[in-house]
Amino acid sequence: MTDYLLSIITFLPLAGVVALILVGRANESTLKWTAFIFALATFVVSLALPFGFDSAAGYQFVTDRPWIEAFNLGVRYHVGVDGLSLWLVMLTTLLVPVALISSWNSIHKYQREFLISMLALETGMIGVFIALDLFLFYLFWEVMLVPMYFLIGVWGGERRIYAAIKFVIYTVVGSLLMLAGIIAVYYLHGNATGNFTFDIPTITQAVQAGGLRIDPRTQSWLFWAFGLAFLIKVPLFPFHTWLPDAHVEAPTAGSVILAGVLLKMGTYGLMRFNLPLFPDASREWATLISTLAVIGIIYGALVAMVQPDMKKLVAYSSVSHLGFVVLGIFSFTDQGMQGALYQMLNHGVSTGALFIIVGMIYDRRHTRLIKEFGGLASVMPVYSALFLIVTLSSIALPLLNGFVGEFLILIGTFTSNVLPYSKTFTAFAATGMILSAVYMLWMYQRVIFGETHNPENQKLADLNGREKLALAPIVVLVFVMGIYPNLFLARSDRTIKNLSERFNTVVAATKTGNEPMQASTEKR
């Protein structure tokens, strides 16, 4: 059972797609329930993962079958989770049903196709996180684009076509270069070890153990081939301009998934591939990337501040938040990377919730312009309260989830021995804390506080049971993750340590003996 657990989780939504196709053009409610049940079932099944997870072990719930062997391809169906991917899988399985509930009544056309897209997307997303074969990873990575593309393009807003195409092209440009990178890594590994394979653990192991040594120049190329794909997805400044458009145009559920999960794929990729496979290049480029990350943090926040559209504001805030994540990753410290991982989850939860919240009000008023609102506290108290909690979580208030991640990132970056100018970076990044308060609270104030001047706002209904249900798990998570983060951190501890060790021991080695990277890896 556990052998196939991950596959079940991954393909259960796909089964839902099949079910939806079989159900045919039944009435909408049947369709929605069908989809929801499959999504929920996926989540329930996936609950087995954290419980069965052994914090001390590496990859778990592994399924490893040969798939395409011809041409030395050595492609395998190799899936598994480790500390890095465990929670991201959980995040995905959680957010999809939540997104479905949140847009239960928001979709007015082609309901069935919408649900199909959502479920297909879920399979793709889970697949990305669990794939332990570069080929398989790439496959999920690309396939997932399609449903997202449809979600934006069909059910999106006014400029949906532009946004959808921009999203896809941006992503594809990055990911195809990654494909070239994947091939190169495959060749380098095969050439060095005689074992032609796309297997991630094998290749990572080879790099770690010195079986595969890539010269720094090549590493740099490959680092960017992979990195560009991920950094676009993250998105790191200045590759971020697809994000506001995509977010604004996507339907609520799409935005939730986009912000909640898709962006994490970029940062996940950096941690899964760039750091372990190209350690020298990672260190070499860390300064540049951290600079961009810090620019992104500040820039995203400043631009978010002046957005008239709520969704756009949240979108730019994502740029800022993800900047933190990238910064944390390139600190190469336990704290920084744990924080980054944690911040990914936080951002998924909080920003997902923000999009749901914006979506709720959009469903009522069909506008997202901040100036259209004001004084909602009087008419929608529950909404306002939940909005406040999410806002606070987003601005990293202690005891709420955002804080833990952000602080760990900052402290990790601050104490980094590997990243140059780490203290300066931290200082600038920490201004993000201030700015996030500025833009979030300002928006909150303009939307929620004050008097209800606009007559259209005066008769708005407060949240109904379904909407509360959509936000409930998120709010609970906001608190749980803020108050007892060790529940989560403990499970990723070992994985992160393995990753950071590599950099920090190298630093130690270079510091003591001025040994070049290669030599020190060889010794180990």
């Binding site: 011809a70 041409f71 396939v143 399609v146 393009g153 069909v154 195409i165 070239a180 091939i183 190169a184």
Partner: protein, 511 residues
């Protein structure tokens, strides 16, 4: 008699197809009243039989026959299967079409089968004569097919342009052959040759009459083949011809005749001249390899880039697909430059299936007289005709190279082989080539998605009634979809077969 190696089994597929073509015409002539569909049925049976014949030939390692005019190796058989797949699919998607358009049925299928025969000869050829003949059979029959809708000015124009340019390039090819023939004259043996194995032997041993002549001949053959596979700058004919030709014929041209041209191209340039990045010859061999590889790299880059960039600005779906198929020829060339015919074969197999699928839907949507082929005609049809639209989206995305479909596997394999070839040959131009290919792939997403956008995202511009899909065409579509997915998800068996085929060819080459 055995001296010349008469072996009818070895040309059984070709015999079957040509015979069936004749039978069809006879039947057609004899029975005007019989349902015209019968011609299609006969051709299907014939093609299936030919396929069986191909399979029956499997395992004959480079056996030659008919005075070494024909070689039966896996290369030939694999390509033969590709052609037969193309032919079968084309027959399926045009069964209804021929009837609807009220065109001469018997001749149509006969010509298709003749063309297929020519293609089969091209892959089976072991002699420039046979290549030339096969090429001409294919070309001439497709000239006719392009102009098949005589009353349609576009069809006429297509035929005229194809004919002029096609025969012009044939002249170049022929002149190139003449040069090669001259260049291979061996003082010692007192003979010149058009036999590919002999040519290879003479080039590698350096027993040549004239080296510049060889190079010029190769260059002219490159022009000829480049024209047939539509690589830049010889792609120029294809958008016009593809757009004007009746849709099933466009499908046939962009898949079958392109694949056949590739077969001949590979046979001559890779398997004979070994003019690839990986092979490292010295002397004449070396210089031939070097110049050809460089030329091919430039051509591949141009082809991909022009194909994709110009496709972006097209408004006609057929024309866009025409440019797309130019781009695909470029990708296939990448595999060819890598010196790996197997990856090209796989690429072409995937590509023909996907592309015919796409054209089948274009054909259905275009309706009678090829009237609705503008992108605006596709606006908003997505949810009204969801099956067709989804299938078309699948094909287009597959052409763009989305994983889990044949298009991705094919591209992946080609790029991978090219990358590795570049690494082993220490030729970073190949890496550049791969990167350019990859960027081009990204560009291509834009125009493929434009159709998807039109179908699903845009509001319908006009009344659209879901077209009826004939059963035969549906069968063809399903086959194409299955093929696309099968090659994308479970390519293992095909790849295995190819791999062993490649090994054998390589071994044979060494002999």
């Amino acid at each position: 008699m055995d001296k010349i190696g008469i072996n009818y089994h070895s040309i059984l597929p070709e015999l079957i197809t040509s015979t069936v073509a004749i039978v069809i015409m006879m039947v057609d002539a004899a029975s005007r009243k019989i349902e015209r569909r019968i011609a299609g049925a006969i051709s299907l049976v014939g093609l299936a039989a030919a396929a069986a014949a191909v399979v029956s030939l499997w395992g004959r390692n480079g056996e030659t026959s008919f005075n070494r005019m024909i070689v039966t190796d896996d290369f030939r058989l694999f390509f033969a299967l590709i052609f037969l797949v193309v032919a079968i699919l084309i027959v399926l998607i045009s069964l209804r079409w021929v009837k609807e358009e009220d065109l001469p049925t018997g001749e149509y299928f006969a010509l298709l089968l003749f063309a297929t025969t020519g293609m089969l000869f091209m892959s089976a050829a072991n002699d420039l004569v046979m290549i030339f003949l096969g090429l001409e059979i294919t070309s001439i029959s497709t000239y006719v097919l392009c102009g098949y809708r005589k009353s349609d000015l576009r069809s006429n124009e297509s035929a005229v342009k194809y004919f002029i340019l096609g025969s012009f390039s044939t002249a170049f090819l022929l002149y190139g052959i003449a040069f090669i023939y001259g260049a291979t004259y061996s003082q010692a043996m007192k003979t010149a040759t058009t036999n590919l194995q002999d040519i290879a032997a003479r080039i590698s041993s350096g027993q040549l009459f004239s080296e510049p002549m060889l190079l010029a001949g190769a260059a002219m053959m490159l022009v000829g083949f480049g024209f047939k596979v539509a690589t830049a700058p010889f792609h120029i004919w294809s958008p016009d011809v593809y757009e004007g030709a009746p849709t099933p014929i466009t499908a046939f041209l962009s898949t079958g005749s392109k694949a056949a041209a590739f077969a001949a191209f590979l046979r001559v340039f890779v398997l004979t001249f070994a003019a690839t990045a990986v092979a490292k010859g010295t002397g004449v061999m070396g210089s031939l390899q070097a110049v050809t590889t460089n030329a091919l790299i430039v051509m591949a880059i141009l082809t991909m880039t022009i194909g994709n960039l110009v496709a972006i600005v097209q408004t006609n779906v057929k024309r866009m697909l025409a440019y797309s198929s130019i781009a695909h020829a470029g990708y296939a060339l990448v595999g060819m430059i890598a010196g790996d015919w197997r990856s090209v074969a796989f690429y072409l197999l995937s590509y023909v299936i996907i592309n015919i699928g796409a054209f089948a839907i274009v054909e259905v949507i275009a309706r009678r007289g090829d009237t609705r082929t503008e992108i605006s005609d596709y606006a908003g049809i997505g949810f009204k005709s969801i099956g067709l639209a989804t299938a078309l989206s699948l094909f287009l995305l597959s052409l763009a190279g989305i994983p889990l479909t044949a298009g991705f596997m094919a591209k992946f394999l080609v790029f991978k082989q090219a990358w590795i070839a570049g690494s082993t040959a220490n030729n970073s131009m190949l890496h550049v080539l791969v990167v350019i290919g990859v960027i081009n792939s990204a560009i291509s997403w834009y125009y493929y998605l434009r159709i998807v956008v039109a179908m699903f995202f845009a509001e319908p511009a006009q009344e659209f009634k879901a077209p009826a899909v004939a059963r035969s065409l549906a069968a063809g579509l399903i086959l194409a979809i299955l093929g696309t997915l099968y090659l994308g998800i479970m390519p293992g068996r095909v790849l295995d077969a190819l791999e062993s085929a490649g090994a054998k060819t390589a071994a044979m080459q060494k002999k």
